[in-house]
Amino acid sequence: MLLIKCPWCGPRDESEFSYGGEADIVRPAEPDALTDEEWADYLFMRSNTRGLHREQWVHEHGCRRWFVLERDTVTYQFTENAT
């Protein structure tokens, strides 16, 4: 069980949260202008990093707000004070 630090509610059990996957993926402003490859890259391709990974969480059973944390995907340690 991970101990996850919600920016609003403080450290809570992982079971209060849902995982939102890789952070910083921005929906293209003009999808019609993209090639199929570029659209597939946005839609499906992931960096799936081994090591420090910026990711989204939502405090589903708490304040229900989304936030981004950085976590090491090998040790599962969150980086303190990452923005």
């Binding site: 069980m1 991970l2 992982e14 079971s15 849902s18 995982y19 996957g21 890789e22 199929d36 490859e37 597939a40 890259d41 839609l43 499906f44 391709m45 992931r46 960096s47 799936n48 990093t49 081994r50 990974h53 990711e55 976590r71 995907t73 090998v74 040790t75 599962y76």
Partner: protein, 418 residues
């Protein structure tokens, strides 16, 4: 080199000499400078690929490079279930090919992989579950795969320990049954393929970590490894959870996310369960090993991870479901627990095929269901590498499906959620 044949006679002969003269099952050679083909990853799928490359395609100058020891990854960290009751025709035909290879595997490899066709039940707990089950069973039968719908009274007769009472937390309304499905001994699968491939000339190189993929323009030329540079024009990557890491070395991006997947076994019991029970809705599956341990599989952890361990509440969730199905198991103690890293694709189907780089092939994205595919995956991947084009059975599973949109959506459609 010739393979020492295992038989009742070799057993007797070696018993007379106090079992001191068994030949080692495979060699441990130093890597050569150059091979015709390299397989990265010495799990079941990688070893099977090397075996079928040598056996079916005559490509014997092959090395399997393994970072740790063979079969030490997900091959040795799963619940060993083998079945082919997938919904979509592309997936069903592929897994059925694999199941047919399983049926002759011990004889083919001259190694007892202990494939036991004890049947797999997929439980339905709601009206919607039963509709899905009937649809899938119908689809399986149209694809020529054995499948049947069974009702609670017959389930109870076959599995006396199960709770089918209407007041159960997860009431059992019926199940699908594939009788030809079953379990196999996971370690024996790795060792059997390793021994058979080695006998055909394949070099199995353990403790050899690939650190880079060398390329000349859009062609691959070899790998950098912890044991030096090894050249080859054809490189097959079969590394399960670490596929994205290898792809990064080649400058590629894959549609995969790696998650921890956990399983555990109980203390050994007398025989109580002679088949396999899976439940999609509650995501737990259970069988009993020949040693008597209950083997229980959980779902994946939600977060991505490479740590070969997951969270405790994931185990607890699966165990709660198992105890609701089998109240008598509530006092059984769990003995061991482990986690593997599974690479999950958006459509819960594998990726087996070519990449934008000439000579580089990827076999990944098996998610939670790779073990059952071990022989079929190796067979199809060997064909893809040898001919530089996929076999018709794995053609729908290329990387290009994420661009064309021709996904094979087995998420939730397969007999168990991925």
């Amino acid at each position: 080199m010739t393979r020492q044949k295992y038989s009742i006679f070799s057993l007797l002969r070696n018993a007379v000499s106090h079992n001191e003269n068994w030949r080692q099952a495979w060699r441990s050679p130093a890597p050569r400078k150059k091979y015709d083909a390299l397989i990265i990853g010495g799990g079941g799928h990688g070893l099977a690929t090397a075996y079928y490359l040598a056996k079916e395609h005559g490509i014997r100058n092959v090395a399997v490079l393994e970072k740790g020891w063979i079969g030490g990854g997900n091959t040795g960290r799963n619940t060993t279930i083998v079945r082919s009751n997938y919904l979509w025709t592309e997936a069903a035909l592929f897994y059925e090919k694999s199941l047919k290879l399983w049926e002759g595997l011990s004889r083919d490899l001259n190694y007892n992989v202990m494939f036991s066709q004890r049947g797999v039940y997929n439980m339905g707990h709601s009206l919607q579950d039963m509709r899905d089950i009937e649809r899938r069973v119908g689809a399986n039968r149209l694809d020529g795969i054995d499948a049947e719908v069974v009702m609670p009274a017959r389930i109870k007769a076959a599995i006396p320990m199960i709770d089918i009472s209407p007041g159960a937390r997860y009431p059992i309304l019926g199940a699908s049954l594939q009788r030809r499905a079953g379990v196999a001994r996971h370690d024996a699968v790795a060792w059997g393929f390793a021994r058979a491939a080695d006998a055909l000339g394949v070099d199995i190189i353990q403790q050899c970590e690939v650190t880079g993929i060398c390329r000349n323009g859009s062609r691959v030329t070899g790998v950098e490894s912890s044991r030096g540079r090894i050249e080859a024009d054809r490189i097959g990557v079969v590394v399960a959870g670490h596929a994205s890491v290898l792809a990064q070395m080649a400058g590629l991006r894959l549609p995969l996310e790696s998650h921890p997947l956990q399983a555990y076994v109980s203390e050994p019991l007398k025989p109580v369960l002679d088949t396999v029970v899976m439940s999609n809705a509650v995501h737990g599956y259970i069988s009993q090993s020949d040693k008597g341990e209950l083997v229980v599989g959980a779902g994946i952890d939600a977060y991505t991870g490479y740590g070969q361990r997951g969270s405790f509440h994931t185990i607890e969730h699966a165990m709660q479901a198992i105890i609701e199905l089998f109240p008598a198991f509530s006092r059984v103690r769990m003995l061991r627990q482990w986690g593997g890293i599974v690479d999950v694709a958006p459509d819960a189907c594998p990726i087996i095929g070519k990449t934008p780089l000439q000579g580089l092939y990827f076999n990944c994205g098996w998610g939670t269901g790779g073990f059952k595919a071990t022989p079929g995956s190796g067979w199809a991947f060997a064909h893809t590498i040898a001919r530089d084009r996929p076999h018709e059975l794995n053609a729908p599973f290329g990387l290009e499906r994420f661009t064309t949109g021709a996904l094979i959506d087995e998420h939730g459609a397969a007999a168990v959620a991925h």
